[in-house]
């Protein structure tokens, strides 16, 4: 049985956990002091040795990303933290920043030193007013305490409601003051990122994991997790469970273990399908309860670890309705730059709406899969790819349910049964 190991979340239960006083009381800003006294390359090496991988979805080794920044090039370097948490189901960075914004600031100081950046930016989504307050206050307090402003400037940049800006190159365009649309790569941000200068873009949780690694060492971090997925991470459990929430555990814990320790699927119901890492990761079912939730384990089972957003749906949920809604989301959030994604997501919605309403024919399923095939891998960024994940995986596991809609001529599910307040809206 894997045990929970709170590192990032260790002090969240202290009422003033978000203040600089609490953070310092719990040993904060010691790691940055230690790192600033180290050679930048040694900091990069330490993070490489720790095995830390990106927590925003792709799982790219963080230290290696830092190592790609050309050194001695006499150019400005930038650190950009991606706090645009918007992937459906993902809800880890937002509570982290509400409870402890200073750990991200300290991570920014360390990372900026390592990549020799004088300017760091945190790009946060705009729909979280109180998180913006907390982070701006924390930055102000860190300046007053002298942690910032002595060679490293940190600016909070607030977005304005565009999922696509979570994609790193769209984020950079947005931060430069343009419409947030992805760029063609190469060149990668490490060579030509913000203002066409070498730039590291990291997820909040990745950067927030760095202070503890500096403080406790690479071996400590290496000792947690699995062979290629090291350390602890935040798993976010939501949906039809008795007790949703955040669970910090070593990588490789299973959904069965998380459900067992948290109280399971809501009483009287059973697991139907779930996402391991947000809506862009192919659906899993009850047969995947024992898949180790690390980068390799989830990938071997046909999905992706993604953001570890475990959205749980029980047998009352119509999978076609769920997939339609996600597809409407991708259609709405497609930035319109690339034709396969812009036009493709629009057609996916048309066909899925008909299917959910019991119209259409079985041939529409083949058409959906064909459309997905023509969207997948054909655009600048992965938004369109993500849109195909729920469709192809749901048809793989629940083809019969799609057909049942057609046979009945309507959706066979009662949406009231799947609400949290079952029946209360009647």
């Amino acid at each position: 049985m894997t045990k929970l190991v709170p590192v990032l979340s260790a002090h969240w239960d202290e009422k003033d956990s978000f203040t600089i006083e609490a953070y310092t009381r719990n040993g904060g800003y010691k790691a940055s002091k230690k790192a600033l006294a180290m050679d930048p390359d040694a900091v990069i090496q330490l993070v490489k040795d720790s095995g830390l991988r990106g927590r925003g979805g792709a799982g790219f080794p963080t230290g290696m990303k830092w190592g790609f920044i050309p050194q001695g090039d006499n150019k400005d370097h930038y650190l950009v933290v991606n706090a645009d948490e918007s992937e459906p189901g993902t809800c880890k960075d937002t509570p982290l920043l509400l409870a402890n914004p200073h750990v991200l600031i300290e991570g920014c100081i360390i990372a900026s030193h390592a990549i020799r950046a004088k300017h760091a930016f945190i790009y946060i989504r705009g729909e979280v007013t109180h998180v913006v307050r907390r982070l701006n206050q924390a930055i102000e307090d860190a300046y007053k305490a002298g942690h910032l402003g002595n060679g490293i400037e940190l600016v909070l940049h607030v977005g304005a409601g565009a999922y696509i800006c979570g994609e790193e190159t769209a984020l950079l365009d947005s931060l430069e003051g343009f419409r947030g649309q992805p760029r063609l790569r190469p060149p990668f941000p490490a060579i030509a990122g913000l203002y066409a200068r070498p730039t590291v873009v990291n997820n909040v949780e990745s950067i927030a994991s760095v202070p503890a690694i500096i403080e406790n060492g690479a071996e400590w971090y290496q000792a947690m997790g699995t062979e290629k997925s090291k350390g602890t991470t935040l798993y976010s459990l939501s949906g039809h469970v008795n007790n949703p929430g955040q669970f910090e555990a070593p990588l490789g814990i299973t959904l069965r273990e998380i459900l067992d320790l948290s109280g399971g699927i809501r009483n009287g119901h059973s697991l139907k399908f779930w996402t391991p890492g947000g809506s862009s990761t192919p659906l899993f079912t009850a047969e995947h309860l024992d898949v180790p939730l690390d980068y390799e384990g989830v990938s071997a089972a046909g999905s992706m670890l993604g953001t570890k957003a475990l959205q749980i749906f029980d047998e009352t949920t119509c999978v076609v309705r769920a997939v339609l809604r996600w597809t409407e989301f991708y259609k709405h959030e497609s930035c319109g730059k690339c034709t396969p994604c812009r036009e493709g997501t629009w057609w996916l919605v048309q066909i899925l709406r008909d299917l959910e309403n019991g119209k259409g024919t079985e041939a529409d399923l083949a058409k959906l899969l064909d459309l997905c095939d023509n969207i997948m891998g054909r655009s600048f960024c992965a938004l369109g790819d993500g849109a195909t994940s729920p469709i192809t995986s749901s048809i793989k596991y629940f083809r019969e349910e799609y057909i049942a809609h057609l046979t009945l001529g309507a959706c066979p599910f009662d949406p009231v049964a799947s609400t949290l307040f079952e029946g209360a809206s009647k």
Binding site: L4, T129, R133, L175, S262
Partner: protein, 208 residues
């Protein structure tokens, strides 16, 4: 409305945050909303002037992002999450009942100008589903009834405090100022974390 000398000073301080001025366009748009309530033509012109851009360039950015409103919203702008998880857990029922209750549709405002309604995408609070946002503050674990009560209280001028936010719900313009990076002194108000956020930590302390 006209922008005052003081407004221009604030805008100047926003521009100075960045190595290159054009990067200030988004906080400046939030700032315009904090003054005018939405993105006015005058606001576009002012941003174009201070950033030395064409108005069309500013409009191009403004229209890309859904938080910048081309027409006035309510004093309290209510967003109901209807992305899959919240929708299934009750967001659809909440959104439909609010439309009926308020007599307005998506992206519309009540006649008294108090409440506007929008169906929103995932707002990163899935462990608190179904989620309703008001001026982008969290109202967690909503029901059809609690959401109706919330908008009624808004129209009566005394909305309850957000579940994870400041002690009082500010207006749309006040929230826009915060998003422009202006400190309203409320960062230390409210919970550090709600119950779901703390569940893993609590269980770990119980030996799990």
């Amino acid at each position: 409305m006209a922008f005052s000398e003081e407004d221009f000073q604030v805008m100047d301080s926003i521009i100075k945050r960045y190595p290159r001025s054009r990067s200030a366009i988004m906080p400046l748009l939030h700032y315009v909303q904090s003054k005018a309530g939405y993105i006015t033509n005058e606001g576009i012109e002012v941003i174009a002037k201070v950033l030395q851009l064409e108005a069309a360039e500013v409009t191009a950015v403004s229209t890309f992002y859904t938080q910048y409103k081309p027409t006035p919203v309510g004093e309290y702008h209510v967003g109901v999450c209807t992305n899959t998880l919240c929708a299934v857990m009750g967001g659809d029922a909440i959104f439909n009942s609010l439309k009926d209750h308020l007599g307005i549709g998506n992206d519309e405002v009540t006649v008294d100008g108090k409440v506007s309604l929008e169906h929103i995408e995932c707002n990163a609070a899935c462990d608190y589903a179904p989620v309703v946002m008001a001026n982008w503050e969290f109202y967690d674990n909503q029901t059809v009834q609690s959401a109706k009560d919330l908008v009624d209280a808004m129209r009566a001028g005394n909305p309850p405090a957000p579940t994870r936010g400041p002690n009082t719900l500010g207006t749309w313009k006040e929230a826009s100022a915060v998003l422009a990076g202006i400190n309203d002194g409320k960062a230390n108000e409210g919970l550090q974390a709600g119950t779901p956020t703390l569940l893993g930590l609590k269980l770990s302390k119980e030996g799990k």
